[in-house]
Amino acid sequence: MNSSLNLLIGLAMGLNLLALGGSRVPQVIRAVAVQGIVLGVLPLLLEHDFAWMVALVSVVTVLVKGFLIPGLLHRAMRAAKIEREIDPFIGFVPSLLLGAGGTIAAVAAARMLPLLPEHAGTLLVPGALASIFTGFILLIGRAKAISQVCGYLILENGIYLFGLLLIHSTPLLVESGILLDLTVGVFVIGIIVDRIQRAFDSLDTRKLTVLRE
């Protein structure tokens, strides 16, 4: 079980780097979508026997993170006619290098943390830390609102991975509540991207500079 789990998390970590290095916005959105699907499957692997709640959480995650949100982002992208991330705050090669360094650091850091025996052999913690770090690089380093939303989604994916550590021990009510809230949060972001583009005719956050001291 652990090997297939690690394989999928490793794939998600690879997708992080793909999102960091991609200059074309559709590519970044696709990386995020695939990562969402991969992560959505994980709870099923972690569960030893079939449970309805876990299956439901899994299906909803795949649908929302893999299809609904990327669909919203694609629509916003087409409406605003953005194909490329031009002139980001942190260049593509530096952010790729940063991401790779962060991934290595995450693996090293996970070794130092005290983990339960059943989690010690998995990539859950390194994967979570690496995704959170990647999310931050995208949030800070990109100028287009859509790319920043992608960064936020990857950050959330990292936190979701971390949450899987607790899926056995915390009541499922909390887990499903968390899932619900994440969905709502991203939904609002989708709406805002939609509204913002109507107001500005562009999704460049550099133009959002009226309000500053």
Partner: protein, 480 residues
């Protein structure tokens, strides 16, 4: 049961507001629900219920010490809101009224949350529900503010979730059975895994600190407060930030039980002083009197966490300050809203002489400014005095000096702005506008009442409140 009504009545009011047919009468739902909520909250304050330890939501001493202040603030804002929405008839108010009521319900839930997961869910829900309120004005500036609020606030929420997971893992790693109520976590105490507890504290402090608006995570605040209607600003500054503050207090108690209380207090003190410093620097620089209120709020959030870091006496003062800050800030926001509407502008370059255009609002604004900069005899003076005393008693001399220095410069910054808005000869535009917009009782009485309560809190703090704060401190510092 009564404590659940605090949550359910506003939520039912929100649902009713959605289906309510008439635009003209809908705003009256706000003061109606606000009045019921205030009566319930005050009743619970005077006659607190028994809270069984394992429940997820309960009117425990912490909720009792803070929630009635939010309730009173909401009632004042709601009363103001009726007159405000009558002026702004060009904007549909269905979403506005419903979300404001929903926020009150979620705030009541957040203050009463005794479960780590529930606390996170309710605070996140408050953040998201506030989004439609922020772009009520429907300008491009409002959208920009909303975007920043969502991105910064969303990241903060994500980090507080990560912190909650880490704390949960600390419990599971220490042999816990997955019970994430604060009672269970505190009982586990030293068994919690130390490295995870520290990591959890960092993320929770950053996460809930973003929501409180502690520097350097305060960047959403000036934009949001500047662009949102003043009732929304008042509710954000006095209600939403306090729920994040109580969240930090509850978490801090767990961290202390785990034996890392000193580290937690030290970080709180550092981040509090840093917030005050940053706020003061911006207060001395800004030219916009609505953004000024946001920086003043950052300063007061700093004061709150400094109080929380100074042991039981400081914590008591922090609860006092929650009350005095929420109510005074409410009065300031509401009167600033009146001035801003009459002036049609919000920077000192465009606005002057408002004491002759809107004399009553200007008077409340000036009084509120003196109250919020800790001039006697208003509430903030006494709460901040107690924080200073607690700081000296616990031997934080350098921190006290910095605290007082920041207060002094904040006073300079605020008086500079307020008097340049109020004094002088009004511009011709504002004279004409001022004649058109009369100061009606509906927009004057609510801030006046809030100022009155602030004064009352300072001069004669009611015994029942003192008792409530003492109980809350006893809950946070359990005697072994």
């Amino acid at each position: 049961m009564r404590e659940l009504l605090l949550i359910l009545v506003p939520l039912a009011g929100a649902a009713l507001a959605v289906v309510w047919p008439s635009e003209r009468t809908r705003p009256w739902l706000m003061p109606a629900v606000g009045a019921v909520h205030t009566v319930l909250a005050l009743w619970l304050l005077v006659d607190p219920p028994q809270v069984s330890p394992g429940v997820w939501f309960g009117f425990d001493p912490i909720a009792r010490a803070v929630l009635p202040a939010v309730s009173i603030l909401f009632l004042a804002c709601a009363a103001y809101g009726v007159s405000y929405l009558r002026i702004r008839t060009e904007r549909p108010n269905r979403v506005f009224v419903a979300t404001l009521l929903a926020i009150l319900g979620l705030l009541s839930a957040g203050h009463q949350a005794r479960h780590l997961g529930m606390l996170w869910i309710t605070t996140e829900a408050v953040t998201l529900t506030a989004v439609p309120l922020l772009h009520f004005n429907n300008t491009s500036r409002a959208f920009e503010a909303t975007w920043k609020y969502l991105l910064v606030g969303g990241t903060g929420i994500a980090l507080s979730l990560l912190g909650s997971f880490c704390l949960g893992y600390a419990s599971v790693r220490g042999g816990g059975n997955g019970d994430l109520t604060f009672v269970a976590l505190t009982a586990q105490g030293p068994l919690l895994s130390r490295p995870w507890v520290l990591i959890a504290w960092v993320f929770l402090l950053v996460g809930y600190g973003t929501k409180m608006g502690l520097a350097p995570m305060h960047t959403w605040k000036p934009d949001a407060y500047g662009e949102a209607p003043s009732i929304v600003g008042a509710m954000l500054a006095g209600g939403v930030t306090t729920v994040a503050f109580t969240a930090l207090l509850r978490v801090r108690a767990v961290i202390t039980a785990a034996g890392e209380g000193q580290a937690a207090d030290r970080t709180l003190l550092a981040i509090g002083l840093f917030s005050m410093l940053v706020a003061v620097l911006f207060l001395l620089g800004t030219r916009d009197f609505k953004r000024m209120l946001a920086y003043s709020s950052v300063e007061h959030m700093g004061i709150l966490v400094i109080g929380a870091a100074l042991g039981p006496a400081g914590m008591w003062a922090a609860f006092f300050h929650v009350w005095s800050n929420s109510l005074t800030k409410g009065a300031l926001f509401l009167s600033a809203g009146n001035i801003r509407r009459a002036a049609g502008a919000r920077t000192v370059d465009e606005v002057r002489g408002m004491s002759s255009v809107t004399p009553q609002s200007a008077a409340i604004f000036v009084a509120g400014m003196f109250a919020v900069t800790a001039c006697p005899p208003f509430g903030p003076f006494f709460s901040e005095l107690r924080i200073v005393r607690a700081a000296i008693d616990t031997g934080h001399i350098a921190a006290t000096a910095m605290f007082l220095g920041c207060l002094l410069f904040a006073f300079f910054g605020l008086t500079r702005l307020v008097f340049s808005v109020v004094d002088g000869r009004p511009r011709a535009v504002q004279k004409a506008e001022g004649r058109r917009i009369k100061e009606k009782a509906g927009v004057i009485i609510p801030p006046l009442v809030l100022m009155g309560i602030s004064l009352w809190l300072g001069l004669a703090t009611p015994q029942v409140l003192r008792g409530a704060w003492t109980d809350a401190v006893a809950q946070l510092f359990p005697t072994p």
